[in-house]
Amino acid sequence: MGGELTKGMSIGKERGGGDYLAGARAGLPFALATLVLGISFGVLARSLGWGIVAPIVFSVIAFSGSAQFAVVAVLGAGGGALAAIVAAVLLNSRFLPMGVAVAPFLKGGPLRRALEGQAVVDASWALASRGGGRFDREYMIGATLPQVVAWIGGTVVGVLSSDVVGDVERLGLDVIFPAFFMALLVDELRAGGRTIAAALIAAVLSLALVPWVPPGVPVIAACAGALLGLKGSSS
């Protein structure tokens, strides 16, 4: 985070993009969901005998809900460190194409770009998408910050209060993320045409693959739906 206030430079078109604060505001509802997830991660990690320090350190240095839950699942089932790392890499491989997509809109030299790339998380990336492959850098970074705070804070609350927390599933809180993604998706689909076709291909691919391959692979394979963009150049 350079401290400079990047004024102007607004490449946003509909959601009033171009500044960190607007992004942070847009990220708040996701931060709420992240908080709940962070708490459940903390509770889960504590129940596996990870202690208090390790789960918190994990959330600070990895900041990756899906990868951390994968590690919990693999180690909890008696798997080794390597299996846990492979599972996490498979789950997070989606950040590779997402990072390529935002790359032209980040700033500075390689080191700074590498750092700014860490701000890529599902919700922020989708929120910062401006259509036509363009992204709003400030909006994305702004949207990620409250989620970082919520994820680490939630983990702390979770490990410290492992028996106070109620049943996440009973309250239906496990649908918060898919429901959010669905909301963003419906907005994307209003563009119509190839957007809908790409989404359909992705739906079929991921549905078909879930029973056969490790978690994470269906999501990355479904990106193939985007290859539809190669067909024809106009429109």
Binding site: P29, D174, V175, A179, P211
Partner: protein, 102 residues
């Protein structure tokens, strides 16, 4: 507990590397138009896959349960131009109610 710490450090490093790779390799270059056309469709494809796996996926198999009803309600609410927060709240409420009564 060394297994745990190896996993923690390994995952943290791998995640950071994955996220850094695209921005470092591509840099500030404009992507070729064919690549942009693909990337423009990446958001709907990825979002669809995330919705599908998180709604129907359960320990490596497909499951149609209360989550689908909740996410469906969210989709309907958004299509009817409801605010995102309301749509998500309705999704959680739907899922919670179905789980409580069925």
């Amino acid at each position: 507990m060394t297994t745990l710490w190896v996993a923690i450090l390994g995952v943290a490093l791998a995640s950071a590397a994955i996220k850094a790779l695209g921005p470092v390799v591509v840099g500030g270059r404009e992507l070729p138009s064919r690549a942009s056309a693909v990337i423009a469709l990446l958001a709907p494809a990825l979002l669809t896959a995330l919705v599908v796996t998180e709604t129907f996926g359960e320990d490596g198999h497909l499951l149609l349960d209360e989550r689908a009803a909740g996410v469906g309600v969210a989709a309907l609410a958004i299509a009817l131009r409801a605010p995102v927060l309301l749509a998500v709240a309705l999704a959680a409420l739907t899922t919670a109610l179905l789980r409580a009564f069925f």
